[in-house]
């Protein structure tokens, strides 16, 4: 079934790539959304089974796949609005939509794969499609962003490959050559620890380019800045989740070996440094799109702190990445409407947004509250649980420092957002401001409401899936 899905999606991508007719292109996009929904439904119906050898519909994969399919719908709608407002030439429109669909397809397959090499292959495909999206504007800045992204991602996928080679060396000591996660887990006692350490270091470093942690986070920031905002929303939410899946599935293996404490140290250090870096950049950033991207680095740092702390932190980390995907994509979807009013990315030239588009301003305000994890945001619950897990793990000093850093981040984020919402911009002539239809903000409200609902009143089946995704970790 996964093979059928992949073949179908590739067929759509190829047709899109070569067609120029407007109605036809958009109906193909709609068709793909139906196809994606059908696949998600099929995946839910076949929950727990293995398909086409390399794909398993397990709870983590299903949860993230549903998240992706939900975020994909507004991404398509906003891409439509974006393209129609920019009078794109047909060729550029076709390439954009084809890459968008290829990206969604690769991320879906990457979530579900049960073999580390397959996850790696689909991560490569996301690099390819994301670079086409980043290069959409075809100007100097886009080229710079694309070049940096491609180069850093090429190095990081090479690192993952080296990690896989070390992992196979480690596995040879266990007398096996099957690199699926199930087999690795079954033989976790026999893996050679030295090669396993090297493998973890390289695979972790490689996936940080997608996840957005120190040391490879830089490429992602430039990518989210230069890509069109609807595509940036996918890069800043669901693509980061793919990096998380890659690290998390391997972390489960290593957590069942005596190397657990060492791995916690590695993950924890990287997470703390990411939070620190995010704080430093948040304090000085003036480009609003990059500010959203740095906020993503902060959230991923918090998630990995939860993973490093263990206990309830595992549960909270998975909850956090799902809710973060909804909240962060909302902010990016709203960005284009903001840009249409002010024609500028710099916070100094944006201001008094409530006057020009009250509905959109509400989205920004609520998005800020959600992203800063203030109640009633769903992220409040997950962050609270992560801090609790750090408290339980006895990392009180670290927790105090993290809370201080978070306070600074919220201060910087809030200062900038309230400037955008209420303080008039210098020298901004509002004679030609374009009216934005409030309906364009509907999907953002729905996404934020979903995040609140899932955080405060999670349905039992959601909780059960979350618990099942972490069942293999030692408690």
């Amino acid at each position: 079934m996964v093979v059928i899905y992949l073949l179908g999606s590739v067929a759509v991508v190829l047709t899109l790539f070569f067609s120029r007719n407007k109605q036809f292109v958009y109906s193909l996009l709609g068709l793909f959304l139906v196809w994606q929904t059908w696949f998600t439904l099929q995946a839910c119906l076949h929950f727990g089974t293995t398909d086409s050898v390399y794909f398993t519909f397990d709870s983590l994969g299903i949860l993230l796949l549903i998240t992706l399919s939900i975020v994909a719908v507004p991404a398509a709608i906003h891409s439509y609005i974006y393209i129609e407002n920019h009078f794109e030439p047909p060729r550029s429109r076709s390439i954009y939509l084809a890459s968008l669909i290829l990206l969604i397809m690769a991320i879906s397959a990457g979530y579900l794969s049960n073999h580390i090499a397959v996850t790696w292959i689909f991560t490569e495909i996301t690099t390819l499609s994301a670079s086409a999206l980043i290069y959409h504007h075809r100007n100097k800045l886009a080229l710079e962003g694309t070049w940096k992204y491609v180069f850093i991602c090429a190095i990081s996928i090479t690192f993952i490959f080296i990690g896989i080679l070390f992992l196979s060396l480690s596995l040879q000591h266990a007398g096996s050559d099957n690199l699926s996660f199930t087999n690795l887990l079954a033989r976790s006692d026999e893996l050679n620890p030295i090669w396993l350490r090297l493998a973890f270091l390289f695979i972790f470093t490689g996936f940080t380019a997608k996840l957005g942690l120190v040391p490879m986070f830089t490429a992602g920031i430039d990518a989210k800045d230069t890509a069109p905002a609807p595509a940036g929303a996918l890069l800043a939410s669901v693509l980061m989740n793919l990096g998380f899946v890659g690290i998390f599935r391997f972390y489960i293996v290593i957590a069942n070996t005596p190397l657990l404490h060492w791995a916690q140290l590695v993950v924890g250090t990287s997470a703390f440094l990411s939070l620190f870096v995010a704080t430093v950049y948040m304090l000085k950033v003036k480009n609003i799109k990059r500010m959203f991207a740095y906020s993503g680095i902060e959230h991923m740092g918090i998630v990995m702190l939860g993973i490093a702390a263990g206990g309830i932190g595992y549960y909270a980390a998975i909850l956090h990445i799902i809710l973060h995907a909804f909240v962060k994509s909302t902010l990016f979807f709203q960005y284009n409407q903001l840009y249409r009013v002010f024609q500028n990315k710099s916070i100094t030239h944006i201001g008094n947004y409530f006057k020009y588009n009250p509905t959109g301003a509400m989205v920004l305000l609520l998005g800020f509250i959600s992203s800063a994890a203030m109640p009633p945001s769903g992220l409040f619950v997950s962050e609270f649980l992560i801090f609790k897990s750090m408290f339980d793990a006895g990392q009180i000093l670290l927790l105090v420092v993290v809370l201080l850093l978070l306070t600074m981040i919220i201060w910087a984020f809030g200062k900038n957002i309230f400037k955008v919402l209420f303080v008039p911009a210098e020298g901004f002539n509002d004679a030609h401001v374009v009216r934005t239809s409030p309906w364009e903000s509907l999907s953002q409200f729905l996404l934020l409401a979903t995040a609140v609902y899932l955080g405060l009143n999670p349905p039992p089946i959601f909780v059960q899936l979350l618990k099942e995704s972490i069942i293999l970790l030692p408690h």
Binding site: I121, F151, A154, L165
Partner: protein
């Protein structure tokens, strides 16, 4: 025999670290491709012949012909000046490269493993870190691309070390090699050369936070 080839491979790294001209870098890359061709031939001779032929073809056609030709074509087309312009003097480069190799030998000695020929490990990791070093200390973007090609060669050596047990991984490595090289060179070919005339990393600093 295989050890001699791999030691020559290491020597090419030293040569590259003190080379001045970009054409020398390209020639060294081509030589590395030829060396890898023979290493593959000796190391994987027991492999399935079709697969072996494919891997041999990749090393000789892709690594030692296509990529070097393409790089030198880019040099001419974009009128890139022939000096490599390192940030550090050649002597320091040589010392650092030596340090990289020595550290890797020490690491390899610390590892007890009957499954792995240690010389593969030393060559692969030295090449990897040397490639990263080249990327970090050369000013032109095209030298970054060359550094990346060096990294790819290092990874390829590592995949050969376990190639007999897991031929699949060698093929995956080749896939990565072709995919990433085509993507990187493709962007370089089409765009970077045209937009940024004298291609220098200093020009790639327009994406800012403020």
């Amino acid at each position: 025999m295989i050890h001699i080839l791999l030691i020559i491979f290491i020597i090419t790294l030293f040569y590259m670290s003190i080379a001045n001209r970009l054409m020398t870098y390209i020639k060294v890359l081509a030589l590395q491709g030829v060396l890898l061709f023979f290493v593959v031939f000796i190391q994987l001779i027991e492999m399935n012949p079709v697969n072996l032929a494919f891997i041999l073809l990749e090393t000789i056609v892709f690594k030692s012909l296509a990529v070097p030709f393409f790089l030198s074509y880019l040099l001419k087309r974009n009128n890139i000046t022939r000096e490599a312009e390192p940030f550090l003097p050649n002597f320091v480069s040589l010392v650092i490269t030596t340090a990289i190799v020595v550290v890797n030998i020490l690491i390899a000695n610390a590892i007890e493993d009957s499954h792995l020929d240690k010389i593969f490990f030393v060559v692969a990791l030295s090449t990897l870190f040397f490639g990263l070093y080249i990327i970090a200390t050369r000013r032109k973007i095209i030298t970054h691309v060359m550094g990346y090609m060096v990294i790819e060669n290092g990874v390829f050596v590592l995949s050969l070390a376990i190639g007999n047990e897991m031929p699949l991984l060698v093929n995956l490595g080749i896939m990565l090699d072709i995919f990433a090289s085509v993507l990187i060179l493709g962007i370089f070919m089409n765009k970077i050369g045209d937009v940024f005339k004298d291609v220098d990393v200093d020009q790639l600093s327009n994406l800012k936070d403020y």
